[in-house]
Amino acid sequence: MLKKISIKKINDLAAALMEKGTLLAPVKEAAGHNFAEIKDPQQLDLDYYNTIVSPKTVFLPQKEDFVRYETAKPVAEAQPVALNIKATFLFGVRPCDAKSFQIMDIHFHASGIIDPYWQQRRDATVIFGSAFDLDIPAQDADFYQTLGIGAADPEGSDVFMVKKGEDLLMKAITPQGEEILARLAMLGEGKPADKKYFEEYIKKGSQHQTRNMCLDPQVIAKKLEDIFHSGEFWQAQSAACLSCGICTFVCPTCYCFDICDDTLFSRGVRRRVWDACMFTDFTLEASGHNPRTHVYQRLRQKVCHKYSFHVRKYGVISCVGCGRCTRYCPVNIDIYSIIQDAMKA
């Protein structure tokens, strides 16, 4: 089913969703937009290109408390932190990010080991995908087309939205999408013209130009294995890298984390926090040995994990070409250029 709503009335939609659960949407901040809980309907706005930090924060928050304890008491008395998850609406997810959830699902439940935190949040969330505006050319950092993702690719979203002049067309893709659209009274019915417009928009989306090269996962995976030991290649690529943690923190498909115990006044909590393979002490072992002390080793690991090891293990590249790592890198290292150079090396 296809529904429609005038963009001017978008705040009513927000209000309605807020009654049904927590609404998360891109909110304006100093340096750009980030997903945050909408507290008042006016906050919802649609003119953003994409968020700084990817929406993975919704399902894998940077800090997740597992269990609370007291040093004086025995371990058995430690209390797990209750995870009371309400129904959530993730509004305004770009196609590349929507696709990234499918890749992340591989690690958090598809491979057999279910991560309860990720899974409960994933199940409780309805994803409102939103197409890129095809009149605006893609930003030069993006390259999602290379990964086979269209600018208006509904895959991964429960409801997919396309702007048509003053209106917003919303089409349900998955049963949850159907179910929620049905419950939203203020939405008008989509006319056949809207349906046709919607279909064409999606087709046009897949032609929308971003940086593009034909990239067969198996080929790039093999190529990266071949040049894995070419120190000279990787040193050249990582010469400028500062080895900070931006590219991994903003990336929708990076999921590495660290477990640590924070104690204060003999009471504490065990929690999960994001970690970054680019940090120098990410691979520091208890013995003091650190297999990856040089920057080029860490950069090589990051690129090869996404474009080689992940393909070998799960058959799909762990990157959706959203371009965030390139856009926010302080020294403008660009993973797309690295892959290009790798293919040529």
């Binding site: 940077q62 800090k63 900070c244 940090f279 120098t280 926010y328 660009d334």
Partner: protein
Amino acid sequence: MTDFKQIENNLKKEAKKLLESAEVPVVLAYTRGYDEKHPMPFAAKSVADVEKIVFNEYCNFNMARYIMRFPDAAKIAIAAKAADSRALVVLIQEEKVRREDLVILGIPASGMKDPKTDQLIDSRTTGGLYNPVEYDILLGEEIRGQKTVSPYAVLADYEAMDKEARWAFWKGQLDKCIRCYACRKACPMCYCDPCFIDQNKPRWADKAPQSPGNMMYHLTRFHHLAGRCIDCGECSRACPVGIPLYLFHKKVAKECEEMFGQAAGMKLEDKPVLVDFRVEDSDQILK
């Protein structure tokens, strides 16, 4: 406005001369990134590399932080804008590199732009200098007659705030921090590896990106940069969530200059203020 093309050509000319004569094994400069507006730091090691050197209004990177990447290079040539040269002076004062091991290619530049906003970088947010304080070869005409505003003028309205408003401002800003440590890695003066915040013995703060950890990390870093920060603004530009760190560093630099009479990285013979003392420092600075 600075003629970037002319400087680029001079930079290439000098780099070629230095690399051909093997006076230096590496020239730290800039190269084209994935597009015109996003250049990258670059270490030219051969005459062939010289072709890749580029210089435009987006080359804000402070190349001084790459000096320590070449410990075995007897001599290093480095393209240095005003703030970069001050960073080199501090590194020399702290004996991380010797003056005679550097060939400093001074670049007088104004009208630099921030690639994220594509706007001119407001000189008030940086050290306000246009000409390098220390150089061997100058790649362009010294810039004269620029209206020099005190680099600390931009602090006026923050200092005027009352402390509750200032606390709300800084707590709001520092709570946004996602602890990616880009500010630390972008700073030429922050060369400690591991940094105090990475230590487990002692654990100065928890790893989670919430107020206490962020506050301890940033306040201590402000202290570690006291009298050493050369006001290049790289930390604020590197921050993905746009925290105006340069403001706090500027305030600490202003206090240090007033209390100890010395700006960071201006004179080679100065000693960094917090590893020095004067018997006649007045006790008033503690009141």
